[in-house]
């Protein structure tokens, strides 16, 4: 098939970006979206032009590196990661807009690459269970009901790609934070730090340049792992409980 790509080009954070047009022929429908960009990049390199920068690594939908705004939808028309999107989802003659995630919390590094280190800082603020190596009791010491373990797992499948932020009209990171609060809050091991965790993570999220959550749900609709809006309800429940119990974020 033949395609016209309109791609966001921005050499560095300091330089203003713009859309550039590229024409591609002989695109196979079995190609992944990123393989299509590989083909374009090899051509650009041979033509002496700067190839398009985009983050990618595992290319099997689990590392969370890739993430493109495709025709205005985070990760494009299928609810999956960009690397798992295949060209059979497009038609001959299509024009495709490709942009980076757009959010104050994710400054552009170059072209389609953004800085998502704010996510690491949110985890750092409290997205863990304090269990120093060597301190653990036997794994069967505390049985965990299967429903809780399964629900915790569902929340824990978040890959930290940032599509939720990119899709949110407010640029909120709430689904990301809620997924971690839910994962750890559903497990018995996560109870001792449950109150402080939610308060600290929310405080860090607010300190980054993310917007507030107004329960619109665009985040969950594009999430490649289908993280549910229920996690946000759980976060709000935990936050209210924690604040009523007097938890305060560490200064």
């Amino acid at each position: 098939m033949q395609l016209t790509l309109r791609v966001w080009r921005q050499p560095s954070p300091q330089v203003k970006g713009k859309m550039a047009n590229y024409h591609l022929t002989d695109v196979s429908e079995d190609m992944s979206f990123l393989e299509m960009l590989d083909v374009l990049n090899e051509q650009l390199i041979l033509d002496g032009e700067d190839p398009i920068a985009f983050d990618h690594d595992c290319r099997e939908g689990i590392c969370g590196s890739c993430g493109l705004m495709i025709n205005g939808i985070a990760h494009g028309p299928e609810q999956t990661t960009t690397c798992q999107l295949h060209m059979r989802s497009f038609s001959d003659g299509d024009t495709i807009d490709i942009e980076p995630w757009r959010s104050g919390g994710f400054p552009v590094v170059k072209d389609l690459v953004v800085d998502r280190s704010a996510f690491d800082r949110i985890i750092s603020a409290g997205g863990f269970i304090s269990a120093p190596t060597g301190t653990a009791p036997d794994a069967h010491a505390t049985p965990v009901p299967k429903v809780d373990a399964d629900a915790a797992f569902d929340a824990a499948t978040c890959i930290g790609c940032g599509a939720c932020v990119a899709a949110c009209p407010n640029g909120s990171a709430m689904l990301f934070t809620a997924a971690k609060v839910t994962h750890l809050g559903l497990l018995p091991q996560g109870q001792p730090e449950r109150d402080s965790r939610v308060v600290r993570m929310i405080a860090q999220q607010d300190a980054e340049d993310f917007g507030g959550c107004t329960n619109i749900g665009e985040c969950s609709a594009v999430c490649p792992k289908g993280i549910s809006m229920e996690t946000i309800s759980r976060l709000n429940h935990d936050l209210l409980g924690a604040l009523r119990a007097g938890a305060v974020p560490a200064s």
Binding site: P11, S28, M31, L34, E35, D38, E42, I45, L46, G48, E49, D50, P51, A53, H56, D57, C58, R59, E60, I62, C63, S65, T80, Q84, R88, V109, V113, R116, S117, F119, D120, I123, S124, G127, F128, I129, S130, A131, P132, T133, G134, A136, P137, A139, H140, P143, P145, K146, A149, D150, A152, F153, A156, T157, I159, G160, H183, L184, L187, Q189
Partner: protein, 648 residues
């Protein structure tokens, strides 16, 4: 063996395992004999950890908890991206929760046998001992392993074992374990105990007075080249499967950190031991950038078959039961579809070579779930393997619930890596190597669900207990920024970057990578012959020469430049490929994943030659044009009886 290929060096041996006590006591004895570092002194010492996968992430977190100053480096944007995240099936542990006869000794035995008797007994026994602690640790961190209705942990079976000892989190075990390590890591970042360097790639090792004292890195965003010094350097930088271009590894996975350490004096052990995973989605076109694995756990319920007749082009549903050849069940009745990976892969290759392969180009076999869906119901199959089936459907556009999957082997893991002793220290004092980056535990073939076990064992439990013996002599004398070793290493890195950008030839980096990968796959892949390896060894120097005179690298040195990153990695893959082929050519026996066509049993199984080859081949680097030096570490088996491996 032709002498021009390599030079004979002195033998090498591990001196750290206390072999004067029985094997079950050696790990505690080593911990007792090794010197310790008191908590007040730990604060004075800096440890560099490169890589944030299961090994590197776990090590950085644990060392930081212990009180050392840790500096962590990774090339991705976040420490959570390391490729451990993609491991699907599970992690082994000798918990014997199933009451099915498992024990530390059985896991030890299975792993030594699975590695085709080419691993070090002491290391494998320690791994089996630690396996149970890993599960405890991960559960305490909140890793949501699969559980049964009673709330206890579930298990499944994996290749090469007759017990159920594999713990799992649906098809995303690696992700959940890595996120556990990442959270422990981030906790230490918050505590100020880990200094982080994201999007930073190690490009050289700084060796001062014979000791590893630092690394030269390039900031991948700004292009700045700097040196970081420390008391000790730890590499947890993963394997080198991407030498084959197409593999199941992430696109960024590379050999650069360990290769450059090798060029500074660390021996590279068993480079030809590579694992070809039997269940991957077949290649669909020339543009293909990577291969996708379907977890080995699928072989618990999926049945592998091809048509009995060659060239049978009927759709699978139209081929009656008695015209199908369930060749693994037929040839290996005891283990059936759960034979180890090397055997399953080679058998798939054999049936395809016979012309009985299925799908485009005849390079595929069926993995059929019809019987499992009938026996368990679609719902149960969905619950167990749903995400894998979805992934298959997305990539191929076919529905695996209604037609069998097509699978073909693909490069997946490298058992070879930098040589380490029982303490995980390389031949350069102060350079420790953990996880897939070292060679230590899997011999010539790794069993399924053992990589996660080894990564976490090294990172959480082994390294933090062995590194103290080395550090007890520290903190070491400060290395000034203008030390000749630093200046020389930095200049070398900068010169290489400039060289890449100045060649301005006519071929892309990727085109060289594809050509190299195809060559190594053809001649140093699933089946190797002296003739083929000679061909590869003739061709690789030509590829290297052309690369250094005709590659075209885009952009400049001072901005984010992914093409430049790739160029440096491919340059190292080319050099490594040559050593792999030399290693494969010199090892005139078949063992595990290394199958030499000249050495097979009448039934076509790998035929070892213990008389001549029961050793680890540890290679020393010599400058281009001179043959590498072979140092042999003799493998002795005190507890496991050397035998022809049989899974029949």
């Amino acid at each position: 063996m032709a002498l021009e290929l390599f030079l004979e060096g002195d033998p090498i041996a591990d001196t750290k395992a206390p072999t004067d006590v029985p094997i079950g006591e050696r790990w505690s004895e080593r911990k007792f004999r090794g010197k310790l570092v008191n908590p007040a002194n730990r604060r004075k010492m800096t440890i560099i950890v490169v890589g944030t996968g299961l090994a590197g992430g776990a090590a950085a977190a644990t060392l930081a908890e212990a009180g050392y100053k840790v500096k962590s480096f990774w090339f991705q944007d976040s420490p959570r991206r390391a490729h451990s995240i993609a491991a699907q099936g599970g992690i082994n542990a000798a918990k014997n929760y199933r009451n099915d006869g498992d024990s530390v000794h059985r896991l030890f035995y299975d792993t030594v046998k699975g590695g085709d008797f080419r691993s070090r007994e002491d290391n494998v026994h320690r791994l089996a001992e630690i396996s149970t602690q890993i599960i405890d640790q991960c559960v305490a961190q909140g890793v949501p392993f699969a559980r049964e209705y009673g709330g206890l942990l579930d298990n499944r079976s994996f290749g090469g074992a007759q017990v159920s000892r594999t713990f799992y989190a649906r098809g995303q075990t690696g992700q959940q374990l890595l996120i556990g390590a990442y959270q422990a890591f981030e906790r230490q970042v918050a505590a100020g105990n880990i200094e982080t360097h994201s999007r930073t790639e190690m490009l050289d090792l700084v060796v001062v007075d014979g000791k590893a004292r630092g690394i030269v890195v390039r900031d991948l965003v700004t292009g700045e080249v700097t040196t970081h010094v420390a008391d000790v350097v730890v590499l947890g930088t993963g394997g080198y499967s991407n030498v084959y271009y197409l593999s199941t590894n992430a696109k960024g996975s590379n050999t650069t950190a360990i290769w450059r350490a090798h060029k500074r004096g660390a021996y590279f052990a068993n480079p030809c031991y590579t694992q070809i995973h039997p269940t991957c989605i077949p290649v669909s076109g020339d543009y293909q950038s990577k291969l996708t694995l379907m977890s080995e756990s699928l072989r618990n319920d999926g049945r592998v078959w091809v048509p009995k007749e060659r060239g049978d082009s009927r759709p699978p549903q139209d081929i009656p039961e008695d015209e199908r050849d369930y060749y693994l069940e037929r040839k290996y009745p005891a283990f059936g579809n759960l034979v180890p990976r090397d055997i399953a892969s080679r058998q798939a290759k054999n049936v395809c070579d016979e012309g009985r392969g299925v799908g485009p180009g005849g390079l595929g076999v069926y993995l059929d779930f019809a019987e499992a869906i009938e026996r368990l119901g679609r719902k149960a199959v969905e619950a167990k393997y749903g995400n894998l089936f979805d992934m298959y459907a997305r990539i191929t556009g076919e529905d695996p619930y209604s037609a069998p999957m097509r699978i073909y082997p693909a490069v997946h893991y490298t058992m070879g890596g930098l040589w380490v002793d029982y303490d995980l220290q390389s031949t350069i004092p102060g350079l420790f190597v953990i996880g897939e980056a070292n060679f230590s535990d899997h011999g010539a073939n790794r069993l399924g669900a053992s990589a996660l076990m080894q990564g976490l064992s090294d990172g959480y439990f082994v390294l933090p207990n062995t590194i103290t013996d080395y550090l007890s002599a520290g903190p070491f004398e400060k290395v000034p920024a203008d030390h000749p070793a630093i200046v020389e290493a930095e200049e070398g890195v900068k010169a290489q970057v400039e060289k890449f950008l100045s060649i301005n030839g006519t071929r892309t980096v990727a085109s060289f990578h594809r050509e190299l990968g195809r060559l190594v796959w053809d001649y140093c892949g699933m089946e190797r012959t002296a003739e083929g390896l000679r061909k590869a060894l003739d061709r690789i120097p030509e590829i290297r020469k052309e690369f250094w005179t005709n590659v075209k690298v885009a952009g400049d040195a001072h901005t984010f430049n992914q093409n430049l990153e790739h160029a440096a990695r491919v340059a190292d893959f080319i050099e490594l490929a040559e050593l792999m082929c030399i290693d494969a050519l010199h090892r005139e026996e078949s063992c595990g994943g290394h199958f030499r066509a000249e050495s097979q049993t009448p039934e076509g199984e790998a035929l070892r030659n213990d008389e001549e080859f029961a050793y680890v081949a540890a290679w020393g680097w010599t400058p281009e044009g001179e043959p590498p030096v072979l140092h042999r570490e003799a493998l002795e088996y005190e507890y496991v009886h050397l035998a022809q491996r049989s899974y029949k």
